[in-house]
């Protein structure tokens, strides 16, 4: 127990110290988003056990796959910290597990799991009581399954075959989840969740808690006991597996097999290209990401074949390009402080070399894929070519641009220890960047696709123009940013945080990270929840009421007696606007107060 208690306290201390500046902002926003999701889960649970089990399956998948693409999971307490203590693996693993329960994500998941208690309470006192051990065991399963998945992926990433295999598997699973409607239709049920899905969700470990609570509600205590026992056994097995995996994680990440091709370049830009191409092929984390992007594109586009629809097939190439751009968006961040070499050779054109390398890595596969698949299904040639060209240019421009202007400080490659996925401490920021680049890359192809759909081959010309413009323009912007803010970017990567304001620099209160902690929390909460009263509880029911149709769903106003409905809607809209106004006003009030202080806006920024 002593080990566990110490680790919990250590984790708390680290979390307390890291809650400053921008990171605290991300944590608050992530936490509030999580609260909303947890609330939605509990609310969904009201509609039935199948839905609740299916929702928990989604939570578990989040725990499994989240870390693979967002910074390698929570590693506040690294196993390496404790290697010299000589703890037996099981005690080390239980201690780390205790520490793993401390944090925002487990707290949010615990809240979401109280849906079990809500569900149980409706079935009776016994079921409500059973829900308590069920939800604790369920949380332990989530946390442990995540750790085991990260450890397994870490092992897979020690060999090229493993990296490719893991990329294929992850791409297949996530693509099928993205195309879950196809599965539903294939199972013969359009609209609504087919019963078989609920059945499957119940049988997954994420559904065993639901089974236990349901059985208790029905008085089937043997089934309750069996479900709880199954959860407990699973926890024990996962813990043992994790302990075993921890002993295997020592040592640095292996790299690609030997057989080195000598660099033949003779110019500076050729050298950057050669360096990048080698990094792409030798870094197995990048191999995994590219394989994942490719597998995701192919399986996503091929999934409708299950129900006899081949039309989506040619999109495999374009989806691959968008996914590859999103995966490589923090390009400079993953290279860490190696940026100093770029700063010391100001004439060399680093950005262009990286753009070429990205294109050379992604484009050939994407082009072949698109041409072959468009030919196979005799697809819309102009639209496909226009889309592909525009996306390749957009991706090649966005990748360096995003990594320079929204750089997420990472852990230097040689300091990542036993977890090659642990590229940064800022999982939330990485996740945000992946989604942002996914969306932005898709946007770069809109003009070409629209023109191609309307006027055919003219769209390809538009695609070439926007592609070249994105490639050249975004690349130039990235080059300028690197030149102008290079030392600041390097400092960010060296220290893991954005450079603090120097004394005498204007204190911009309108910037989120400069606010005092209390204000940051308030502003973060306001921005995150303001939308709820404003849109779903205000604007949407108003539209429903005007149109005189639609379900009552979770619109509070529509459940009230008629005379109260409009006042409630107006109140909700006003509340939403007021919440957003609060978020906007707080920084400006700070600014007004600061201007009256001695030194005013130029006074020192207080330590966070």
């Amino acid at each position: 127990m002593a080990v566990a208690v110490t680790m919990v306290r250590m984790k708390l201390a680290v979390l307390r110290h890291s809650m400053n500046g921008q990171r605290a902002g991300f944590v608050v926003m992530g936490g509030v988003t999580g609260l909303v999701l947890a609330g939605a889960t509990i609310w969904l649970g009201l509609s039935g056990a199948e839905v609740l089990a299916a929702t928990y399956a989604v939570w578990m998948l989040g725990w499994i796959f989240g870390p693979a693409f967002a910074g390698g999971g929570d590693e506040t307490l690294r196993p390496e910290f404790f290697t010299l203590l000589g703890l037996p693996p099981r005690r080390l693993a239980s201690g780390l597990l205790a520490g793993a329960f401390v944090g925002v994500a487990p707290a949010i998941s615990l809240l979401a799991l109280t849906g079990l208690t809500v569900h149980g309470a409706r079935l009776g006192a016994g079921a409500a009581l059973v829900s308590i051990p069920a939800l604790l065991l369920q949380l332990a399963v989530f946390v442990l399954v995540s750790r085991v998945a990260v450890a397994l992926l870490g092992l897979a990433l020690r060999s090229r075959v493993g990296a490719i295999g893991a990329g294929l598997a992850n791409g297949l699973i996530l693509a099928l989840l993205g195309q879950i409607w196809v599965v539903f239709v294939a199972l013969g049920q359009s609209g609504g969740v087919p019963p078989v899905v609920g059945e499957v969700a119940r049988h997954l470990p994420s559904g065993w808690g639901v089974v236990a609570v349901e059985a208790a509600g029905a008085g089937d205590w043997a089934r309750t006991g069996a479900a709880l026992a199954a959860l407990a056994v699973l926890v024990a097995l996962l813990l043992a597996a994790w302990a075993a995996l921890l002993t295997r994680r020592a040592g640095a990440a292996r790299t690609a097999p030997r057989g080195r091709v000598p660099i033949r370049a003779a110019t500076a830009s050729g050298a950057v290209l050669a360096k990048e191409l080698r990094t792409w092929s030798r870094d197995l984390v990048r191999t995994h990401q590219l394989t994942f992007a490719l597998a995701y594109g192919v399986f996503f586009a091929a999934a409708p074949l299950l129900i006899g629809i081949p039309d989506m097939l040619p999109l495999a190439g374009p989806i691959f390009v968008v996914m590859a751009a999103a995966m490589s968006a923090n390009l400079y961040g993953t290279d860490g402080t190696a940026l100093w070499l770029t700063l010391m050779t100001p004439g060399a054109r680093d950005v262009r070399g990286r753009q070429h390398a990205w294109l050379l890595t992604v484009a050939p596969v994407a082009v072949v894929l698109t041409i072959v698949l468009t030919a196979v299904v005799d697809g819309h040639w102009p639209a496909m070519i226009a889309l592909l060209v525009a996306l390749l240019g957009g991706g090649a421009g966005l990748v360096p641009l995003a990594s320079v202007y929204a750089l997420i400080p990472g852990t230097d490659p040689h300091r990542r220890g036993g977890n090659p996925l642990r590229s940064t401490e800022e999982d939330g920021a990485v996740t945000g960047m992946v989604y942002a680049v996914l969306a932005l890359a898709a946007v770069t192809a809109v003009p070409a696709t629209v023109v191609a759909a309307l006027y055919g081959w003219a769209g390809v010309a538009v695609g070439v123009v926007t592609g070249v413009l994105c490639y050249w323009g975004f690349g130039t912007l990235a080059e300028r940013g690197l030149l102008a803010r290079g030392p600041e970017l390097l400092e960010t990567m060296r220290t893991g945080r954005r450079p603090p304001l120097a004394q005498g620099e204007p204190r911009k209160w309108t910037r989120f990270e400069n606010l005092p902690r209390r204000d940051r929390v308030i502003v973060g909460v306001c921005y995150s929840i303001g939308a709820i009263p404003l849109f779903p509880q205000g604007v949407v029911p108003a539209i429903f009421k005007v149109n005189g149709g639609g379900a009552r769903s979770w619109f509070l106003a529509l459940y009230l007696p008629e005379p109260w409905q409009w006042p409630t809607i107006v109140f909700m809209i006003a509340l939403g606007v007021a919440i957003y106004a609060t978020a906007v006003i707080i920084p400006f009030r700070r600014k007004a107060v600061a201007a009256k202080e001695p030194g005013g806006e130029r006074a020192t920024v207080p330590a966070a």
Binding site: A252, R258, A268, K275, T279, D335, L341, P413, E491, R494
Partner: protein, 251 residues
């Protein structure tokens, strides 16, 4: 004669803490200059600002008269830098790193190949021909870093803790290389907290304490009649002078 490296009123604060407090240094051409100070005295911050890797809050730095911030291309072509603990292109072999950097510096391909081969052999890195930098030991990382600093034959070397984690045999090699470089008219600035090493190698020394220059000049001027270690402890050491013992360690 223009100093090889000159900083005037360099200043840097991290939040409340002033790391470098108006540092003026002048490193004469042809000198072997040692920068000594306790951990956290501001040596690394000063050197980073002097070569353009960290933007100062105030002050300027010039390399052979070229301002690091307004004329970076000229200033940076004249200096070779070994920073402490920074990443390299990790997925390249030692030879590939040198080829890559040589080409970045605009050297012709044949020159790059020849110098890379020579550097790898002198620094005994050629045995690990197929090893990627990410798999290097700490000492090997120092050596490949030094090779990158020397590759373009700069006139000034700025080395942050060049001997840390380097084995004695390699250290002797590095010392020979650096002495030869200075004898040939080059200038070296290195930071260290090993006094004996600085005394053995350097002809000039500056003592940095709490972000300020506590003493600077030729080795003889700074240490006077005593050893550098005594002078150093006298300048920056605790007031009571004596070092504390850990009572519970002795039985």
């Amino acid at each position: 004669m223009t100093p090889a490296l000159e900083t005037s009123r360099l200043r840097k604060a991290f939040g409340e803490k002033v790391a470098v407090d108006d540092i003026d240094l002048s490193i004469p051409q042809g000198s072997f200059y040692g920068l000594v100070g306790q951990n956290g005295a501001g040596k690394t911050t000063t050197l980073s600002m002097a070569v353009g890797l960290l933007r100062p809050d105030g002050g300027s730095a010039r390399i052979f008269g070229a301002d690091v911030w307004s004329d970076p291309a000229r200033a940076k072509s004249l200096v070779g830098v070994l920073p402490d603990g920074m990443a390299m292109p990790e997925r390249l072999t030692g030879r590939e790193v040198l080829t890559y950097l040589g080409l970045l510096r605009g050297l012709p391909r044949e020159v790059v190949d020849q110098r890379a081969a020579e550097l790898l052999s002198v620094l005994e890195l050629d045995a690990a021909e197929k090893t990627l930098v990410i798999e290097y030991s700490t000492g090997m990382r120092k050596k490949i870093g030094l090779a990158t600093a020397l590759l373009h034959a700069p006139r000034l070397l700025v080395l942050d803790e060049p001997f840390e984690a380097v084995d004695p045999v390699s250290a002797a090699t590095i010392k020979t290389i650096l002495r030869g470089f200075v004898a040939g008219g080059g200038s070296v600035v290195l930071s260290s907290h090993v006094m004996a090493l600085v005394e053995q190698l350097c002809d000039h020394v500056a003592v940095i304490d709490k972000g300020r220059v506590a003493a600077a000049g030729t080795l003889g001027e700074v240490r006077g009649g005593t050893t550098l270690e005594e002078t150093f402890v006298g300048l920056v050491g605790a007031a009571d002078g004596g070092s504390k013992e850990l009572a519970w360690l002795s039985r």
